[in-house]
């Protein structure tokens, strides 16, 4: 399956608005079928029926014509390591990779549109685009949702909106998020206050990789917490407006770093570049940390030009499950570190 061996997905293109800071934009819609127990309470038979109904809805000719060909499979048909690759590619959640027989997955060939079937809800529809393109992502998600609804009966109440397994998603069922690269705010120690402020606005900011405030690769995700009482458009505008404010802060932080610490910064960024282009073994943590610095160096025009898509692709291409799956055998940690160093050297090579 190309899906598992190809490290490049369209969300990594490095295009779209404000792509120097916004890696990608994601819309996720939670939907359930009427009068059928939510996944955590459903038996195998019901799970199979739900899966079949959704499969039918996405394999109709009109669906294919509009959104392209889709791949569809049950997750038990994949090896654990392959399921993990889908997590690393941001196509499924870690929960969905747990190997439970009820779980299924579908996505278009270009990976823009993905469906988790029988995760927390019967359907979790995701649209992932590069850059700050949340409105466009919602337009696509909305169209897919309409198309699915032609064939399916959704659980919906006039009062509460779309009904979901957890009340935290009820109403619009929407989660709008942006993935941001924030080295400037990280090195100027402003992340804690950022987390504080956004919490007050009904949004959450969290590190995309790693735990707590220490985010690997300085990659953060901003998303809405509230899904009820506002329209989809209002929710999306909130996320966009906060994202824009963070973008401005990040640009200012980068300027300050450059102005106040120019020589120390140049030294640090060139050293990081030196390690990445020469290392023969590198851990996942070190790679993420140094790639963040080199990316900053390229954006500040201190380091030679490297395309943004290269950095985005390397997030997946250097991840443990992806590397192991590509080798088609179990890799010792040391072997994996060698493979990772090799891939980074090749991708960063200047022509």
């Amino acid at each position: 399956m190309n899906l598992l061996t190809n490290s490049f997905s369209p969300w990594m293109a490095g295009t779209g608005s404000d792509a120097d800071i916004v890696v990608s934009s994601r819309i996720r819609l939670a939907r359930n079928l009427k009068d059928i127990p939510f996944p955590h309470l459903m038996d195998e038979n019901t799970a199979n029926n739900v899966t079949k109904e959704i499969e039918k809805a996405i394999s109709s000719r009109s669906f294919k014509q509009k959104f392209g060909k889709t791949e569809f499979f049950k997750l038990v048909s994949l090896a654990p390591i392959e399921r993990q690759v889908l997590v690393e590619k941001h196509l499924i959640s870690p929960d969905h990779a747990d190997g439970h027989p009820r779980r299924a997955f579908a996505c278009t060939e270009d990976e823009r549109i993905a469906l988790m079937i029988n995760e927390e809800d019967h359907i979790r529809l995701q649209v992932l685009l590069p850059g700050l393109e949340l409105r466009q992502a919602y337009d696509i998600a909305n169209m897919v949702d309409d198309k699915l609804e032609e064939k399916l009966f959704y659980a919906f109440s006039e009062k509460y909106g779309y009904l979901t397994a957890c009340p935290t998603n009820t109403g619009t069922g929407i989660r709008a998020s942006t993935m941001l690269h924030l080295p400037g705010l990280t090195y100027t120690n402003q992340i804690p206050s950022l987390l504080n402020i956004t919490a007050k606005l009904g949004l959450t900011v969290r590190g995309l990789y790693g735990e707590g405030t220490k985010a690997r690769g300085d990659l953060y995700q901003v998303s809405n917490q509230i899904t009820l009482g506002l329209t989809e458009e209002e929710i999306i505008e909130n996320v966009i407006s906060v994202t824009r404010q963070i973008i401005n802060q990040e640009r200012m932080a980068r300027e300050v770093l450059y102005r106040e610490n120019r020589y120390a910064l140049e030294d640090e960024l060139w050293r990081s570049y030196g390690i990445l282009t020469n290392a023969r073994m590198i851990s996942s943590d070190e790679a993420m940390n140094l790639l963040s610095k080199v990316r900053l160096g390229v954006e500040l025009k201190i380091l030679p030009e490297i395309e943004r898509s290269v950095f985005n692709e390397l997030i997946v291409a250097t991840a443990p499950a992806y590397l192991t799956n590509l080798a088609q055998r179990n890799l010792e940690p040391a072997e994996r570190d060698r493979e990772r160093a090799k891939i980074i050297r090749e991708k960063l090579k200047i022509n």
Binding site: P37, E149, S157, K159, Y160, G161, T168, G229, L230
Partner: protein
């Protein structure tokens, strides 16, 4: 749920501790969590997730409504999926779309606490939403009508009034 340590306050935190390689999990109150924080140096990782927070919030209401556990009144059960009110409170998860009706009061309470609202204002499916769509349009037209009247644009107001009547008639069919 009550704090598993002091048994007095509602539990608001789910804590996983690793002692000598043994993993233990418990639900405790904020106060106890603070106290434990002083006695445990590392190996201490409180998981204050949204889910657990929600569980804590609903647990508090259970206490005030039913008194202490073990002395509870009659509890509801969903006729479609079989989920009990207690299961909903403990997990924070509903079992099916009917549960929203079965546990209406508690669900509304939870929705208000999480979202600050229990009224959907967003998209609706074409199949079930036909009527709502018209109702919302009427609502918007009425607003426009009031504005038109206040600006003394009577021609426009008459136009809007006709449109509203037309839509209201369509609802009766």
């Amino acid at each position: 749920m009550l704090c598993e340590r002091c048994g007095k306050n509602p539990a608001t935190m789910h804590i996983t501790r690793v002692i000598n390689g043994q993993k233990t999990e418990m639900n405790i109150c904020t106060q106890c969590a603070q106290e434990l924080g002083h006695t445990l140096s590392f190996n201490f990782s409180p998981q204050l997730t949204f889910q657990n927070l929600l569980k804590g919030l609903m647990g508090q209401d259970v206490l005030s409504e039913f008194g202490i556990p073990g002395n509870v009144g009659e509890r509801k059960k969903c006729p479609v999926c079989g989920l009990t009110e207690e299961q909903f409170i403990n997990s924070g998860f509903l079992g099916c779309s009917q549960c929203y009706e079965t546990f209406k009061d508690r669900v509304e309470q939870a929705l208000r606490k999480i979202h600050g609202s229990a009224e959907h204002r967003g998209k609706f499916p074409a199949k079930t939403g036909g009527k709502i769509k018209v109702l919302r349009e009427i609502e918007n037209l009425k607003k426009a009508l009031n504005e038109a009247v206040s600006r003394e644009e009577f021609e426009k107001a008459a136009e809007l009034r006709d449109k509203i009547r037309e839509l209201e008639a369509s609802l009766k069919d």
